[in-house]
């Protein structure tokens, strides 16, 4: 019985961890803090926040599609990926924003974020994040 409970609890923990680790938020290594608020992530994804607290311009990069992209957009902006895409088209064509950079895959995302000060993006859980700073959501 004790063994069953242990296995059950371990499964629950693994499930919760896996759910939270569907993606990893990343920023350029020069980013000041390793934590970011959920509100800030939302404002960055929607173009409302264009500068970090240290004055560096935010360079937003998004994935072209995939489960990590869908989950990030859903978790932080309450939109589907299609609605997010249309939101940004509206921002650009009404003179309110610059389209985010679109990355083909995790490797391209990490390369872009590593190279550009102020860059922010996300990758699939388990993707290599050498040269960038993983961010935790407060």
């Amino acid at each position: 019985m004790k063994h069953f409970i242990t296995v059950f609890l371990a499964s629950v923990v693994l499930a919760v961890t896996a759910r939270a680790a569907d993606y990893q938020l990343i920023a350029n290594a020069d980013a000041g803090s390793a934590t970011v608020s959920k509100e800030d992530v939302k404002n960055v994804l929607l173009g409302n926040k264009v500068k970090w607290d240290n004055g560096t311009v935010v360079k937003l990069a998004v994935l072209g599609g995939g489960p990590a992209h869908d989950k990030v957009i859903s978790d932080f902006t309450a939109r589907t990926s299609d609605q997010f895409d249309k939101y940004w088209k509206k921002q650009v064509f009404t003179g309110k924003g610059v389209m985010p950079e679109v990355m083909a895959d995790d490797a391209a995302m990490v390369a872009y974020v590593a190279k550009n000060p102020g860059a922010f993006g996300y990758v699939s859980a388990g993707a290599k994040t050498d040269g960038v700073k993983p961010l935790a959501v407060q």
Partner: protein, 435 residues
């Protein structure tokens, strides 16, 4: 028709076709981001009604438009951008500067835009040209009339904007703006032709005190819901023109010309220089738009509804020629119009979208004796289907079951001589490439 701009218009359209066909992605030139879209619309109507071109009984390519924009954000956060919009609507062509602005965001709560800015009003005024972001080929004809963008697409001035968290109450998005409005001075513009009566042919519209207004949207703590209030005021506007000839007059106005000829001699109206061709104006008009809006996005559904009041107040109509008939040359002018619609769209899958809206408009809100005339109202039932050929190319087909002719009052198309029950139909086919 603006012939002097045809070459530029053609060049823009050609460049857009090349860029649109070559790539589905925006072009990036050394940090300068370039985007655009190209749309082509064909329409067919019936029952002796033409709408936005020669569409009665024939499928006519009546609207082609192209958008090109470019923007850049500097390392200090300043963003600059510009967009040109070229279109052919029926027989009218134009090339306009849609926006050209500098934008600085101090924080998510406060930013400033200076220059030519898109004019925010309601849910979709500033995005009415963006076919790629919605299921419908046309926004409701009467609520967002195509030709009204000549005055409500943009303004030159200042905007303050921001998004403020209200904690447990959600968030608030706001835009406050004020500035100047460009004078309309081309009598062939569909809007000026549309608002001209048979008696007064308008060829100029000035906006003495510019425009001021606000658009405020509350995002309550319900994912996908937003509620808004927009107001836009254009004080001291003036429409100027001339009295029409007997060739353009009809109804009571033609009877008036006949009376003049009977009193002063045959041809007096057309040839004396006292009537036809002399000045007429409607001046001092304060125009006020007020709209309440609601939009709910959940999963693959988008549901929206809006209600708008348009008031034209404190105006004076002046016709100096009336002095020859011993009549007062000036009289007060006002007008009240009411609009509303409800729409729903559903994205079935990555390819197919479905939608439906019902829209209603009347230009005689409180005058029951005239409200039954189909020239004074419109009803629009509109189903649509859209299909994404690729991620950057969409085709749409929609059908309007119309009753009433008020959309024609702004399009420059003639009202049917025999209104009957006011029923007519409009088929719209549209394709858009965007990048």
């Amino acid at each position: 028709m603006k012939n002097t701009k045809c070459l530029a218009t053609s060049a823009i359209i050609s460049a857009g076709i090349v860029l649109g066909a070559a790539s589905s992605k925006a072009t990036d030139l050394d940090g300068l981001s370039i985007h655009g879209s190209l749309s082509a619309t064909a329409s067919e109507t019936d029952n002796n009604v033409s709408y936005l071109g020669d569409t009665d009984g024939r499928l006519n390519l009546n609207l082609v438009d192209i958008i090109l924009n470019s923007s850049h954000r500097f390392e200090n956060g300043l963003r600059i951008g510009a967009q040109v919009y070229a279109y052919q609507l029926g027989n009218f062509k134009d090339l306009t500067l849609d926006f050209a602005n500098a934008d600085y965001s101090f924080s998510p709560q406060f930013g400033v835009r200076v220059g030519r800015n898109k004019l925010p009003h309601g849910l979709y005024n500033d995005s009415q040209d963006l076919d790629a972001i919605r299921t419908f080929a046309s926004l409701p004809y009467s609520f967002y009339p195509r030709t009204l963008r000549a005055i409500d697409a943009a303004f030159d001035g200042l905007s303050f904007y921001g998004s403020a968290s209200l904690s447990l109450a959600g968030s608030l998005d706001y835009q406050l703006f004020a500035g100047a409005k460009e004078t309309l001075s081309d009598g062939t513009l569909p809007l000026l032709r549309g608002i001209s009566s048979s008696l007064m042919q308008f060829n100029r519209w000035t906006f003495g005190d510019g425009v001021e207004g606000a658009a405020i949207f509350w995002n309550p703590p319900v994912d996908g819901l937003k509620l808004g209030y927009s107001v836009q005021r254009l004080p001291r506007t003036k429409l100027s023109g001339v009295l029409g000839t007997t060739a353009t007059l009809n109804g009571d106005n033609l009877a008036l010309a006949g009376l003049v000829d009977a009193m002063l001699g045959k041809g007096a109206w057309d040839d004396s220089g006292v009537f036809a061709g002399t000045s007429a104006s409607v001046s001092g008009v304060d125009i006020l738009f007020r709209t309440i809006s609601a939009e709910y996005t959940t999963g693959k559904w988008v549901i929206a509804a809006e209600y708008k009041l348009l008031d034209e107040l404190h105006g004076t109509t002046t016709v100096p020629a009336l002095a020859r008939l011993g009549q007062p040359t000036s009289s007060p002018y006002s007008n009240h119009l009411e609009y509303y619609y409800g729409m729903a769209s559903y994205q079935v899958n990555d390819k197919v979208g479905l939608g439906y809206y019902y829209a209603y408009n009347t230009d005689v809100r409180n005058d029951a004796s005239r409200s039954g005339n189909p020239s004074n109202y419109s009803k629009d039932h509109c189903p649509v289907i859209s299909y994404n050929l690729t991620k950057w190319c969409v085709v749409k087909a929609e059908y309007h079951f119309m009753q009433g002719y008020t959309p024609l009052g702004l399009s420059g198309d003639p009202m049917p001589s025999n209104p009957g029950d006011g029923k007519w139909h409009s088929l719209v086919l549209k394709t858009t490439i965007s990048f």
